[in-house]
Protein backbone atom coordinates (compact mmCIF):
# COMPACT_ATOMS: atom_id res chain seq x y z
CA UNK A 1 0.00 0.00 0.00
CA UNK A 2 1.17 3.55 -0.44
CA UNK A 3 2.09 5.72 2.46
CA UNK A 4 -1.03 7.84 2.56
CA UNK A 5 -3.83 5.44 1.71
CA UNK A 6 -6.69 5.25 4.17
CA UNK A 7 -6.66 1.58 4.99
CA UNK A 8 -3.90 -0.57 6.28
CA UNK A 9 -4.54 -4.06 5.02
CA UNK A 10 -2.36 -5.63 7.64
CA UNK A 11 -4.24 -4.03 10.24
CA UNK A 12 -4.47 -4.52 13.69
CA UNK A 13 -7.73 -2.89 13.60
CA UNK A 14 -8.92 -1.48 10.37
CA UNK A 15 -11.86 -3.54 9.19
CA UNK A 16 -13.84 -2.64 6.09
CA UNK A 17 -17.64 -2.64 5.96
CA UNK A 18 -18.78 -4.58 2.86
CA UNK A 19 -22.20 -5.36 1.39
CA UNK A 20 -23.00 -8.92 0.35
CA UNK A 21 -23.87 -9.26 -3.33
CA UNK A 22 -23.91 -13.03 -3.89
CA UNK A 23 -23.25 -16.18 -1.89
CA UNK A 24 -21.39 -19.33 -2.92
CA UNK A 25 -22.63 -21.85 -0.36
CA UNK A 26 -20.50 -24.71 -1.66
CA UNK A 27 -17.27 -22.82 -1.03
CA UNK A 28 -18.45 -20.84 2.02
CA UNK A 29 -17.64 -17.54 0.32
CA UNK A 30 -19.59 -14.39 -0.47
CA UNK A 31 -18.95 -11.83 -3.18
CA UNK A 32 -18.97 -8.50 -1.38
CA UNK A 33 -18.68 -4.85 -2.35
CA UNK A 34 -16.98 -2.12 -0.33
CA UNK A 35 -18.13 1.49 -0.10
CA UNK A 36 -15.73 2.49 -2.88
CA UNK A 37 -17.03 -0.20 -5.24
CA UNK A 38 -14.26 -2.79 -4.81
CA UNK A 39 -15.39 -6.41 -5.09
CA UNK A 40 -13.87 -9.18 -3.03
CA UNK A 41 -14.55 -12.84 -2.20
CA UNK A 42 -15.07 -12.99 1.54
CA UNK A 43 -14.91 -15.96 3.89
CA UNK A 44 -18.24 -16.06 5.78
CA UNK A 45 -17.82 -19.10 8.06
CA UNK A 46 -17.63 -16.96 11.21
CA UNK A 47 -20.82 -14.97 10.55
CA UNK A 48 -23.09 -17.39 8.66
CA UNK A 49 -25.96 -17.33 7.85
CA UNK A 50 -25.56 -14.41 5.50
CA UNK A 51 -27.99 -13.14 2.87
CA UNK A 52 -27.45 -10.71 -0.03
CA UNK A 53 -27.82 -7.15 1.18
CA UNK A 54 -26.24 -7.80 4.59
CA UNK A 55 -23.39 -5.52 5.63
CA UNK A 56 -20.37 -7.29 7.11
CA UNK A 57 -17.20 -6.14 8.83
CA UNK A 58 -14.35 -7.69 6.83
CA UNK A 59 -10.78 -8.14 7.99
CA UNK A 60 -8.16 -9.63 5.68
CA UNK A 61 -10.79 -11.34 3.54
CA UNK A 62 -12.77 -12.77 6.45
CA UNK A 63 -16.05 -11.42 7.79
CA UNK A 64 -15.84 -11.02 11.57
CA UNK A 65 -19.23 -9.50 12.34
CA UNK A 66 -22.59 -8.40 11.00
CA UNK A 67 -23.18 -4.67 11.08
CA UNK A 68 -26.75 -4.97 12.19
CA UNK A 69 -27.67 -1.34 12.64
CA UNK A 70 -27.63 -1.23 16.42
CA UNK A 71 -25.83 2.04 17.08
CA UNK A 72 -23.89 3.18 20.08
Amino acid sequence: MNAVSCHCITCGDDGVPMRVLRIDDTRGLALCESGDGQHESVEIALVAPVVPGDTLLVHAGTALAHLDGAVA
Partner: protein, 371 residues
Protein backbone atom coordinates in the same frame (compact mmCIF):
# COMPACT_ATOMS: atom_id res chain seq x y z
CA UNK B 1 -21.91 4.30 3.15
CA UNK B 2 -24.31 3.24 5.91
CA UNK B 3 -22.62 2.69 9.30
CA UNK B 4 -19.76 4.95 8.21
CA UNK B 5 -21.10 8.35 7.08
CA UNK B 6 -23.19 9.00 10.18
CA UNK B 7 -20.08 8.50 12.34
CA UNK B 8 -18.20 11.18 10.38
CA UNK B 9 -20.77 13.90 11.09
CA UNK B 10 -18.77 17.09 11.68
CA UNK B 11 -21.55 18.88 13.60
CA UNK B 12 -21.94 15.95 15.99
CA UNK B 13 -18.17 15.83 16.38
CA UNK B 14 -18.11 19.50 17.42
CA UNK B 15 -20.90 18.89 19.95
CA UNK B 16 -18.91 16.02 21.47
CA UNK B 17 -15.73 18.14 21.53
CA UNK B 18 -17.67 20.79 23.47
CA UNK B 19 -18.92 18.20 25.95
CA UNK B 20 -15.37 16.91 26.40
CA UNK B 21 -14.18 20.43 27.15
CA UNK B 22 -16.89 20.69 29.82
CA UNK B 23 -16.14 17.27 31.29
CA UNK B 24 -12.41 17.62 31.84
CA UNK B 25 -11.24 18.79 35.22
CA UNK B 26 -9.26 22.05 34.79
CA UNK B 27 -5.62 21.77 35.79
CA UNK B 28 -5.55 17.99 35.63
CA UNK B 29 -3.46 16.50 32.82
CA UNK B 30 -4.95 13.23 31.57
CA UNK B 31 -3.20 10.61 29.45
CA UNK B 32 -5.44 8.24 27.50
CA UNK B 33 -3.89 5.43 25.46
CA UNK B 34 -5.49 4.31 22.23
CA UNK B 35 -4.36 0.73 21.94
CA UNK B 36 -4.97 0.23 18.24
CA UNK B 37 -3.02 1.47 15.28
CA UNK B 38 -6.36 1.91 13.54
CA UNK B 39 -7.35 4.45 16.16
CA UNK B 40 -3.99 6.23 15.87
CA UNK B 41 -4.46 6.51 12.12
CA UNK B 42 -8.03 7.86 12.47
CA UNK B 43 -7.03 10.37 15.17
CA UNK B 44 -4.49 12.03 12.87
CA UNK B 45 -6.41 11.58 9.64
CA UNK B 46 -9.41 13.44 11.08
CA UNK B 47 -7.51 15.87 13.31
CA UNK B 48 -9.25 14.59 16.45
CA UNK B 49 -6.22 15.50 18.53
CA UNK B 50 -6.80 19.17 17.70
CA UNK B 51 -10.40 19.02 18.94
CA UNK B 52 -9.35 17.95 22.42
CA UNK B 53 -8.40 20.27 25.29
CA UNK B 54 -4.62 20.51 25.69
CA UNK B 55 -4.75 18.73 29.03
CA UNK B 56 -6.24 15.59 27.43
CA UNK B 57 -3.32 13.80 25.81
CA UNK B 58 -3.73 10.79 23.55
CA UNK B 59 -0.87 8.30 23.91
CA UNK B 60 -0.33 5.79 21.12
CA UNK B 61 -0.21 2.12 22.00
CA UNK B 62 1.37 -1.03 20.59
CA UNK B 63 -1.57 -2.11 18.42
CA UNK B 64 -0.06 -1.97 14.96
CA UNK B 65 0.97 -5.51 13.98
CA UNK B 66 3.62 -4.36 11.53
CA UNK B 67 5.20 -2.05 14.10
CA UNK B 68 5.73 -4.75 16.70
CA UNK B 69 7.47 -7.27 14.41
CA UNK B 70 11.10 -7.62 15.56
CA UNK B 71 13.90 -7.52 13.00
CA UNK B 72 14.86 -11.14 13.57
CA UNK B 73 11.46 -12.36 12.37
CA UNK B 74 11.81 -10.27 9.19
CA UNK B 75 15.20 -11.94 8.64
CA UNK B 76 13.54 -15.33 9.11
CA UNK B 77 10.90 -14.44 6.51
CA UNK B 78 13.58 -13.37 4.04
CA UNK B 79 15.48 -16.63 4.65
CA UNK B 80 12.33 -18.61 3.79
CA UNK B 81 11.74 -16.46 0.70
CA UNK B 82 15.25 -17.28 -0.53
CA UNK B 83 14.70 -21.05 -0.31
CA UNK B 84 14.62 -22.60 -3.81
CA UNK B 85 11.12 -22.96 -5.21
CA UNK B 86 9.44 -20.86 -2.53
CA UNK B 87 6.81 -18.18 -3.17
CA UNK B 88 6.55 -16.06 -0.02
CA UNK B 89 3.26 -14.20 0.27
CA UNK B 90 2.59 -11.37 2.70
CA UNK B 91 0.52 -8.25 3.26
CA UNK B 92 1.87 -5.17 1.49
CA UNK B 93 3.30 -3.36 4.47
CA UNK B 94 5.41 -6.32 5.56
CA UNK B 95 7.40 -6.04 2.34
CA UNK B 96 8.89 -2.72 3.46
CA UNK B 97 9.78 -3.60 7.06
CA UNK B 98 13.56 -3.55 7.45
CA UNK B 99 15.34 -6.63 8.75
CA UNK B 100 19.02 -6.61 9.66
CA UNK B 101 19.97 -6.99 6.02
CA UNK B 102 17.22 -5.39 3.96
CA UNK B 103 13.52 -5.84 3.35
CA UNK B 104 11.40 -8.47 1.63
CA UNK B 105 10.98 -5.97 -1.21
CA UNK B 106 14.76 -5.83 -1.63
CA UNK B 107 14.92 -9.63 -1.47
CA UNK B 108 12.34 -9.67 -4.28
CA UNK B 109 14.50 -7.28 -6.31
CA UNK B 110 17.40 -9.69 -5.80
CA UNK B 111 15.39 -12.59 -7.23
CA UNK B 112 13.29 -14.04 -4.41
CA UNK B 113 9.65 -14.64 -5.35
CA UNK B 114 7.80 -12.43 -2.85
CA UNK B 115 4.20 -11.56 -3.62
CA UNK B 116 1.75 -9.21 -1.95
CA UNK B 117 -1.67 -10.61 -1.06
CA UNK B 118 -4.78 -9.03 0.43
CA UNK B 119 -5.79 -12.08 2.42
CA UNK B 120 -4.41 -15.51 3.35
CA UNK B 121 -7.07 -16.97 1.07
CA UNK B 122 -5.25 -15.30 -1.87
CA UNK B 123 -2.07 -17.10 -0.79
CA UNK B 124 -3.92 -20.43 -0.77
CA UNK B 125 -5.22 -19.71 -4.28
CA UNK B 126 -1.63 -19.20 -5.47
CA UNK B 127 -0.64 -22.52 -3.87
CA UNK B 128 -3.44 -24.33 -5.70
CA UNK B 129 -2.56 -22.61 -8.99
CA UNK B 130 1.16 -23.45 -8.67
CA UNK B 131 1.32 -26.96 -7.20
CA UNK B 132 5.02 -27.36 -8.09
CA UNK B 133 6.03 -24.42 -5.87
CA UNK B 134 6.09 -24.12 -2.08
CA UNK B 135 3.80 -21.24 -1.08
CA UNK B 136 4.35 -19.72 2.35
CA UNK B 137 2.06 -17.14 3.95
CA UNK B 138 3.87 -14.68 6.28
CA UNK B 139 1.08 -14.29 8.83
CA UNK B 140 1.01 -11.21 11.06
CA UNK B 141 -1.60 -9.46 13.12
CA UNK B 142 -3.62 -9.53 16.29
CA UNK B 143 -6.88 -11.40 16.88
CA UNK B 144 -8.38 -9.52 13.94
CA UNK B 145 -6.35 -11.26 11.24
CA UNK B 146 -5.65 -14.51 13.13
CA UNK B 147 -9.15 -15.96 12.41
CA UNK B 148 -8.58 -15.37 8.70
CA UNK B 149 -5.28 -17.27 8.82
CA UNK B 150 -6.88 -20.04 10.89
CA UNK B 151 -9.77 -20.53 8.47
CA UNK B 152 -7.34 -20.61 5.52
CA UNK B 153 -5.22 -23.27 7.24
CA UNK B 154 -8.36 -25.31 7.88
CA UNK B 155 -9.22 -25.04 4.18
CA UNK B 156 -5.68 -26.02 3.16
CA UNK B 157 -5.82 -29.08 5.40
CA UNK B 158 -9.32 -30.09 4.27
CA UNK B 159 -8.41 -29.70 0.60
CA UNK B 160 -5.03 -31.40 1.02
CA UNK B 161 -2.98 -28.48 -0.35
CA UNK B 162 0.41 -29.92 0.59
CA UNK B 163 2.52 -27.12 -0.92
CA UNK B 164 1.01 -24.46 1.39
CA UNK B 165 2.41 -23.45 4.78
CA UNK B 166 2.28 -20.59 7.24
CA UNK B 167 5.09 -18.59 8.89
CA UNK B 168 3.08 -17.61 11.95
CA UNK B 169 3.72 -14.27 13.67
CA UNK B 170 0.28 -13.69 15.11
CA UNK B 171 0.17 -11.99 18.49
CA UNK B 172 -2.44 -11.37 21.16
CA UNK B 173 -3.34 -8.01 22.64
CA UNK B 174 -3.78 -8.64 26.36
CA UNK B 175 -0.19 -9.63 27.37
CA UNK B 176 1.44 -6.45 25.95
CA UNK B 177 -1.20 -4.31 27.65
CA UNK B 178 -0.37 -5.96 30.96
CA UNK B 179 3.34 -5.41 30.26
CA UNK B 180 2.69 -1.73 29.56
CA UNK B 181 0.62 -1.32 32.72
CA UNK B 182 3.44 -2.92 34.72
CA UNK B 183 5.98 -0.56 33.15
CA UNK B 184 7.25 2.12 35.52
CA UNK B 185 7.84 4.46 32.53
CA UNK B 186 4.23 5.18 31.90
CA UNK B 187 1.36 6.77 33.80
CA UNK B 188 -1.99 6.37 32.08
CA UNK B 189 -5.47 7.45 33.15
CA UNK B 190 -7.57 5.34 30.78
CA UNK B 191 -7.70 3.28 27.62
CA UNK B 192 -9.53 3.53 24.32
CA UNK B 193 -9.97 -0.21 23.87
CA UNK B 194 -9.37 -2.11 20.63
CA UNK B 195 -12.53 -2.22 18.55
CA UNK B 196 -12.05 -5.02 16.09
CA UNK B 197 -9.87 -7.19 18.31
CA UNK B 198 -12.81 -7.04 20.72
CA UNK B 199 -15.14 -8.13 17.91
CA UNK B 200 -13.26 -11.42 18.06
CA UNK B 201 -12.22 -11.82 21.70
CA UNK B 202 -15.01 -9.75 23.26
CA UNK B 203 -14.67 -7.00 25.83
CA UNK B 204 -14.40 -9.39 28.76
CA UNK B 205 -10.60 -10.01 28.41
CA UNK B 206 -10.08 -6.27 29.07
CA UNK B 207 -11.75 -6.42 32.48
CA UNK B 208 -8.38 -6.94 34.17
CA UNK B 209 -7.51 -3.30 33.40
CA UNK B 210 -10.13 -1.76 35.71
CA UNK B 211 -10.03 -4.74 38.11
CA UNK B 212 -6.24 -5.02 38.59
CA UNK B 213 -5.00 -1.56 37.62
CA UNK B 214 -7.95 0.74 38.36
CA UNK B 215 -8.10 2.29 34.87
CA UNK B 216 -11.27 2.82 32.82
CA UNK B 217 -11.56 1.24 29.36
CA UNK B 218 -13.96 2.14 26.56
CA UNK B 219 -14.01 -0.18 23.54
CA UNK B 220 -14.30 2.18 20.60
CA UNK B 221 -15.19 2.31 16.93
CA UNK B 222 -12.88 3.89 14.39
CA UNK B 223 -14.80 6.85 13.01
CA UNK B 224 -14.23 10.34 14.42
CA UNK B 225 -17.55 10.46 16.29
CA UNK B 226 -16.77 7.05 17.81
CA UNK B 227 -13.40 8.17 19.14
CA UNK B 228 -14.68 11.49 20.51
CA UNK B 229 -17.57 9.73 22.24
CA UNK B 230 -15.14 7.19 23.73
CA UNK B 231 -12.92 9.95 25.13
CA UNK B 232 -16.02 11.55 26.67
CA UNK B 233 -17.09 8.22 28.19
CA UNK B 234 -13.65 7.80 29.79
CA UNK B 235 -13.75 11.35 31.18
CA UNK B 236 -17.20 10.68 32.66
CA UNK B 237 -15.98 7.49 34.32
CA UNK B 238 -13.10 9.44 35.86
CA UNK B 239 -15.40 12.29 36.88
CA UNK B 240 -17.94 9.96 38.48
CA UNK B 241 -15.33 7.79 40.16
CA UNK B 242 -16.33 4.75 38.10
CA UNK B 243 -13.84 2.31 36.66
CA UNK B 244 -15.13 -0.33 34.26
CA UNK B 245 -15.09 -1.65 30.69
CA UNK B 246 -17.69 0.11 28.57
CA UNK B 247 -18.57 -0.70 24.99
CA UNK B 248 -19.02 2.34 22.74
CA UNK B 249 -18.85 0.12 19.63
CA UNK B 250 -21.97 -1.95 20.32
CA UNK B 251 -22.97 -1.88 16.66
CA UNK B 252 -20.07 -4.26 15.97
CA UNK B 253 -18.64 -5.64 19.22
CA UNK B 254 -20.56 -8.28 21.17
CA UNK B 255 -19.36 -8.31 24.78
CA UNK B 256 -18.54 -12.04 24.51
CA UNK B 257 -16.79 -11.75 21.11
CA UNK B 258 -17.18 -14.10 18.15
CA UNK B 259 -17.29 -17.58 19.64
CA UNK B 260 -16.84 -19.31 16.28
CA UNK B 261 -13.68 -17.31 15.64
CA UNK B 262 -12.32 -18.17 19.09
CA UNK B 263 -13.08 -21.83 18.48
CA UNK B 264 -11.26 -21.99 15.15
CA UNK B 265 -8.30 -20.08 16.59
CA UNK B 266 -7.99 -22.48 19.51
CA UNK B 267 -8.06 -25.42 17.11
CA UNK B 268 -5.40 -24.06 14.74
CA UNK B 269 -3.11 -22.10 17.07
CA UNK B 270 -1.31 -22.65 20.36
CA UNK B 271 0.37 -20.08 22.59
CA UNK B 272 4.15 -19.75 22.40
CA UNK B 273 5.86 -19.61 25.80
CA UNK B 274 7.49 -16.29 24.78
CA UNK B 275 7.42 -14.00 21.76
CA UNK B 276 9.60 -10.99 21.06
CA UNK B 277 7.94 -7.62 20.45
CA UNK B 278 9.80 -4.78 18.87
CA UNK B 279 10.65 -2.28 21.56
CA UNK B 280 8.88 -4.24 24.28
CA UNK B 281 11.16 -7.28 24.45
CA UNK B 282 10.00 -10.82 25.18
CA UNK B 283 6.46 -11.12 26.54
CA UNK B 284 5.19 -14.42 27.91
CA UNK B 285 2.27 -16.13 26.17
CA UNK B 286 1.84 -13.26 23.73
CA UNK B 287 2.50 -15.02 20.40
CA UNK B 288 0.77 -17.80 18.52
CA UNK B 289 2.25 -20.80 16.73
CA UNK B 290 0.45 -23.52 14.78
CA UNK B 291 -1.01 -26.22 17.02
CA UNK B 292 0.34 -29.75 16.88
CA UNK B 293 -2.64 -30.77 14.71
CA UNK B 294 -1.47 -28.25 12.08
CA UNK B 295 2.29 -28.79 12.46
CA UNK B 296 2.53 -30.15 8.91
CA UNK B 297 1.54 -26.66 7.66
CA UNK B 298 4.06 -24.84 9.87
CA UNK B 299 6.73 -23.12 7.73
CA UNK B 300 9.08 -22.93 10.74
CA UNK B 301 9.16 -26.72 10.80
CA UNK B 302 9.23 -27.13 7.01
CA UNK B 303 12.15 -24.75 6.31
CA UNK B 304 15.45 -23.88 7.95
CA UNK B 305 14.69 -20.68 9.84
CA UNK B 306 17.69 -18.84 11.37
CA UNK B 307 15.73 -17.67 14.45
CA UNK B 308 18.45 -15.21 15.40
CA UNK B 309 17.48 -12.30 17.65
CA UNK B 310 18.55 -8.95 16.20
CA UNK B 311 18.77 -5.75 18.21
CA UNK B 312 16.92 -2.71 16.88
CA UNK B 313 19.05 0.01 15.20
CA UNK B 314 20.52 2.33 17.82
CA UNK B 315 19.07 5.45 16.22
CA UNK B 316 15.57 4.02 16.18
CA UNK B 317 13.26 4.82 19.11
CA UNK B 318 10.28 2.74 18.00
CA UNK B 319 10.25 0.99 21.36
CA UNK B 320 9.68 4.24 23.24
CA UNK B 321 7.05 5.32 20.70
CA UNK B 322 5.27 1.95 21.04
CA UNK B 323 5.20 2.33 24.79
CA UNK B 324 3.90 5.90 24.50
CA UNK B 325 6.94 7.23 26.36
CA UNK B 326 7.85 9.67 23.57
CA UNK B 327 5.90 11.24 20.73
CA UNK B 328 7.04 10.30 17.21
CA UNK B 329 8.52 13.75 16.54
CA UNK B 330 10.71 13.40 19.62
CA UNK B 331 12.59 10.51 17.97
CA UNK B 332 16.03 11.58 16.77
CA UNK B 333 15.50 10.32 13.21
CA UNK B 334 11.80 11.19 12.70
CA UNK B 335 11.23 12.83 9.32
CA UNK B 336 14.93 13.07 8.55
CA UNK B 337 16.70 9.72 8.28
CA UNK B 338 13.43 7.86 8.83
CA UNK B 339 10.52 8.56 6.46
CA UNK B 340 7.71 6.40 5.01
CA UNK B 341 9.73 6.12 1.78
CA UNK B 342 12.89 4.96 3.59
CA UNK B 343 11.83 3.78 7.04
CA UNK B 344 14.37 2.81 9.68
CA UNK B 345 11.79 1.75 12.22
CA UNK B 346 8.57 -0.18 11.87
CA UNK B 347 6.38 2.64 13.21
CA UNK B 348 7.16 4.59 10.03
CA UNK B 349 6.25 1.68 7.72
CA UNK B 350 2.60 0.99 8.30
CA UNK B 351 -0.03 3.69 7.88
CA UNK B 352 -1.22 2.60 11.32
CA UNK B 353 2.18 3.22 12.83
CA UNK B 354 2.23 6.30 15.03
CA UNK B 355 5.23 7.80 13.20
CA UNK B 356 3.69 7.32 9.75
CA UNK B 357 0.39 8.77 10.98
CA UNK B 358 2.18 11.88 12.29
CA UNK B 359 4.30 12.18 9.15
CA UNK B 360 1.53 11.61 6.59
CA UNK B 361 -0.88 14.06 8.18
CA UNK B 362 1.69 16.78 8.75
CA UNK B 363 1.87 16.52 12.52
CA UNK B 364 5.29 18.05 12.85
CA UNK B 365 4.06 20.72 15.26
CA UNK B 366 5.55 20.42 18.71
CA UNK B 367 2.60 22.04 20.43
CA UNK B 368 -1.11 21.63 19.92
CA UNK B 369 -3.26 24.70 19.54
CA UNK B 370 -5.40 25.54 22.51
CA UNK B 371 -9.09 24.81 21.83
Amino acid sequence: MKFVDEFRDAALGRVLAGEILGAVEPGRHLKIMEVCGGHTHAIYKYGIDDLLPTNVELVHGPGCPVCVIPMGRVDDGIAIAREPGVILTCFGDMMRVPGSNGTLLEAKAQGADVRMVYSPLDALRIAKAEPDREVVFFAIGFETTAPSTALTLKRAKAEGVANFSCFCNHVTIVPPLRALLDSPDLRLDGFIGPGHVSTVVGARPLEFIPADYGKPVVVSGFEPVDILQSVLMILRQLDEGRCEVENQYKRVVPYEGNLRALEVMSEVFALRPHFEWRGLGFISHSGLRLSDAYADLDAELRFAVPGVRVADPKACQCGEVLKGVIKPYECKVFGSACTPERPIGTCMVSSEGACAAYYNYGRFAREREVV
